[in-house]
Symmetry: C2
Subunit: 263 residues, 2 copies
Amino acid sequence: MMNDWKQDQLQVRDRIRKGDYTGPTAGLLNGQTQANLVVLPKELAFDFMLFCQRNPKPCPLLEVLDPGSAEPVLTAPKKDLRTDLPKYFIYRHGEKSEEVTDLSSNWTGDLVSFLLGCSFTFESFFLQRDIPVRHIEEGVNVPMYATSLECHSAGRFEGNMVVSMRPIPEEKLTEAIQVTSRFPAVHGAPIHIGSPEKIGITDLDKPDFGDPVTINDGEIPVFWACGVTPQLVIMKLKPEFVITHAPGHMFITDKKDTDYFLL
Amino acid sequence: MMNDWKQDQLQVRDRIRKGDYTGPTAGLLNGQTQANLVVLPKELAFDFMLFCQRNPKPCPLLEVLDPGSAEPVLTAPKKDLRTDLPKYFIYRHGEKSEEVTDLSSNWTGDLVSFLLGCSFTFESFFLQRDIPVRHIEEGVNVPMYATSLECHSAGRFEGNMVVSMRPIPEEKLTEAIQVTSRFPAVHGAPIHIGSPEKIGITDLDKPDFGDPVTINDGEIPVFWACGVTPQLVIMKLKPEFVITHAPGHMFITDKKDTDYFLL
């Protein structure tokens, strides 16, 4: 007989669909790939896909859906992006206007959905290999920083890269680089190691998003491109209508994290 | 002092631009990445980019240009796709209508250019590592076959995968797989090894495109996704206007083949 925890895990996606679970997805269905969601009107979709194509490290595309479609046929057939995330943010003219748990009443045939890779995937490999993930140890959000690194622009989409930071012990640095190099679909190898000022970060204790974490002696700050980048780039345009997942409330695909391990 | 051959090599791109060299590009500027060109009206560009995103093995995107732009700012800044390929084919309503060496008079602000990776890149690594490339040894075109493998469709773009075949000695098979696995930007790892009938190929001596090659005892036919796939998928739609490079007459970028070696 299954214990309650396992039972809960198996049913969590049903519960999300019914609106019965509206919490964050970290730790749910471990080993199954979670994704960021961005939904844009078709008019902006070509340039946004171009932006992702030119900036695969901050914007790793797992799947782009047909205009109007809510079924991710490649990563989660039969699932529905309108109901199968626990919480969504709706933005109008660049301002957050609503937090909802079901998009059905806001959906139109004109919307294009983008699923982007998320660092949860490589963090689960870090944990398996005893590479510390400090923000998980400390029970906070990963620290994220705006940088001086410019993305390649595409149409009206332009902006600087946002990075996440994880302090890595020197003796684990090689392994952390190796593991993330094998995951190009979830941000890939670090974009910078060490001196934060070289990429325009002035104070590691004051992240622009998320929370500061402890950096111990013998640890080096390592920076990875972050999925907040495309969100900021989109919001700069103040588009009439955009939907994203609520932070931490991701889409759980049918893919396994190991499916994205590039052999 | 440079010998004539080296001098020729350095000047070949100037000569191509001037229309003074209109031949194939195989072997030119060795080590510098060559690319397939597809130019489509904007109306088809979103769905085609989606098709490439969903089928990265046959359609590895090196760069997608802004609508109307002919300058590949990421892979060859200051170059011009209208003049810097030795020969182009223009198709109207799915039929080849012209062969030209300069696109200037056919260019409009509505055209979107796609540069796709080409197997020349990994073949040059094969030669460096003594993995035989039979069609080069025999001085013919690589044999290509239509298969029963369906691509993921995108909008009106759909069709089966075309593959290229290289016979690999059993003792070199591991290395051939390793090398191409490291090159996801130029078709990546093989999509099939061995029995051709399993992917719908009935006779290796009768390729659908290119020329048959000798398969020696102790060699295994190895199949890679091929860049002819997107061309066929496009032509099925009989679009009003399409431009491609003439076969073998590729765009020479500023990138080195090693830039696409995924570490």
